[in-house]
């Protein structure tokens, strides 16, 4: 009897705590993202963050994209060629990338590369009282520090995803057309006829915007809410990567179900 009470009590406590975290995170996100834009400093701050989260993530995005495209073409070819359908390689590769792999893999890489950096940076700013001193100068750190990072994530993610897709398709061409000698004409023609702009490309872009928003939200909140010690920051950085990855995969399923689900 007693252990049951204990169990229910712990369940309740965890539930309340989790709800509290969600509430805090939502409030911070809301306060940071909306409100009067700062036309004087905002653009500079945003460009700088775009540079940090976007340009610095380029190398990992490009290299991973290249290899994923190459592997995809190789695997696809070995299966398709058995049915004599190797001309469909372009279709297979482009749909897999544009609908699923591009947004998801790019977001996972982004979480590992940019998300963890954001958490560590903001957590350290909190630990060294930089956020508190900014607040005491009369500048809201939510608006000055968090807002440009959140917008930068939402803007950079779809761009990175499209770059990822482009490079991956290029890798697939290198393997499929140049190496395995799939006919270039049918490769491109099949791709062109299979990929719909609204159905595939636009939905992929929407996915990547959502992922960018979620990853930066988690990263920024974990940093802002971190316990101000070195263990606290390391735990927060780990949480960012784990929660972001899980969120990306979970949300991807939901979005796929809504976008491409049974009509």
């Amino acid at each position: 009897m007693n252990w049951m009470l204990n169990f229910v009590q712990r369940l309740g406590a965890t539930g309340i705590e989790t709800l509290g975290v969600f509430g805090r995170a939502s409030l911070i996100w809301w306060r940071a993202l909306w409100g009067m834009p700062d036309w004087r400093n905002g653009p500079t701050l945003l460009v700088r963050q775009l540079y940090f989260v976007g340009v610095y993530s380029l190398i990992i995005i490009v290299v991973s994209g290249l290899f994923i495209g190459m592997v995809l073409a190789l695997q696809g070819y070995t299966v398709l060629v058995r049915f004599g359908a190797d001309q469909a390689l372009g279709q297979l590769v482009s749909l897999a990338l544009i609908r699923e792999l591009g947004p998801v893999v790019a977001a996972l890489l982004f979480a590992g590369r940019a998300g963890s950096a954001l958490t560590a940076e903001i957590g350290l700013m909190k630990t060294t009282e930089q956020l508190a001193s900014m607040a005491m100068i009369g500048v809201d750190p939510l608006k000055r520090v968090l807002r440009p990072r959140l917008w930068a994530g939402m803007i950079a993610m779809p761009v990175l995803t499209q770059i990822f897709n482009m490079v991956a398709i290029w890798g697939a061409v290198a393997v499929g057309v140049d190496w395995l000698k799939v006919d270039a004409g049918s490769f491109w023609a099949n791709m062109q006829s299979a990929v719909q702009f609204r159905e595939d490309v636009l939905n992929g872009v929407i996915k990547s915007i959502v992922f960018g928003a979620v990853v930066t939200w988690i990263a920024v909140f974990q940093g802002y809410d971190a316990t101000p010690t070195s263990e606290g920051i390391s735990a927060a950085t780990t949480r960012t990567v784990v929660y972001s990855s899980l969120a990306i995969l979970g949300i991807d399923f939901l979005l796929t179900a809504v976008m491409f689900g049974v009509k």
Partner: protein
């Protein structure tokens, strides 16, 4: 309480709780305009918390903190940020922005709160840096500064907007005698030259007593002693005396509460 009618800050019946513990349980004090008021007490009595309550970073459960007619715990977020422009705070770590040079750190409040032309910002920044003796260090990054220099640079930033009030959080901790002397002199000098009101939170008795106009001693969530430095140094109160003289044992016990020593060592007492 300080005998002055001209108070910049009036705190009444302040109560603040962290977890189960009451950090402040009905604290009253005044900060007289134009004076240096010290708030002293043992570590862990919530002196820094007090500054954060005045700065509005924490909200008190009960009581009022009036700064020039604004009740800080009851301000909304935007008004609070507006009131904070009248305050400067020197954090224990300095808390300089690590991605900006010393010059840009001091210029930061000017850039965000004023629309001064660049030439004028430069003049103000150099004046403030000159006041703390770091005009020559303007191009250094915070990581290149010693602890004392970082604190002085942070002080220059805190006075950049000519606040009415400046709060020092443990300004003397971890300073060598030279930079300690510099800081003591600077705090007095800036207070008098700029017509500031200063609050020093500290447990360094002698440095603080040498520059403060009025001292409050807090412990266990209450004000346990107050007066001019002479009055506090010559107090009869046993708890205040223990703190001021630095006696290892007294009303504040040397031992953290524990069970009987012999029992703890499992020695049988016949």
């Amino acid at each position: 309480m300080a005998e002055s009618d001209d108070n910049l800050i009036e705190v009444r019946n302040l109560r603040f709780q962290r977890g189960e513990r009451w950090i402040f349980d009905g604290v009253d004090f005044n900060i007289a305009r134009g004076k240096i008021t010290a708030i002293m007490g043992p570590s862990g009595t919530g002196k820094t918390t007090l500054l954060r309550l005045i700065g509005g970073q924490l909200r008190a459960e009960a009581g009022s903190i009036h700064l020039d007619g604004n009740d800080i715990p009851r301000l909304n977020r935007n008004d609070l940020f507006a009131v904070r422009r009248k305050m400067g705070m020197l954090f224990q770590s300095g808390a300089l922005f690590t991605d900006l040079t010393v010059y840009e750190n001091v210029a930061f409040p000017l850039r965000v709160h004023t629309r001064l032309p660049e030439a004028m910002i430069r003049d103000v920044v150099l004046m403030k840096l000159h006041a703390v003796g770091l005009r020559g260090a303007r191009d250094l990054m915070p990581s290149e500064l010693s602890g004392g220099m970082a604190r002085r640079a942070a002080l220059a930033r805190a006075i950049a907007l000519d606040p009415q009030l400046i709060m020092y959080d443990e300004p003397f901790v971890g300073q060598d005698p030279i930079s300690m002397g510099m800081l003591v002199q600077l705090i007095r000098l800036l207070n008098d030259a700029l017509g500031l009101t200063s609050i020093i939170v500290s447990h360094d008795v002698h440095e603080t007593a040498s520059i403060a106009d009025y001292i409050y001693v807090i412990a266990d969530g209450k004000v346990i002693g107050q007066g001019t430095p002479e009055q506090v140094l010559n107090t009869d109160d046993a708890r205040v005396r223990q703190f001021i003289r630095g006696l290892p044992d007294g009303p504040v016990p040397f031992h953290y509460p524990a069970i009987d020593y012999c029992k703890d060592l499992q020695l049988e007492r016949e």
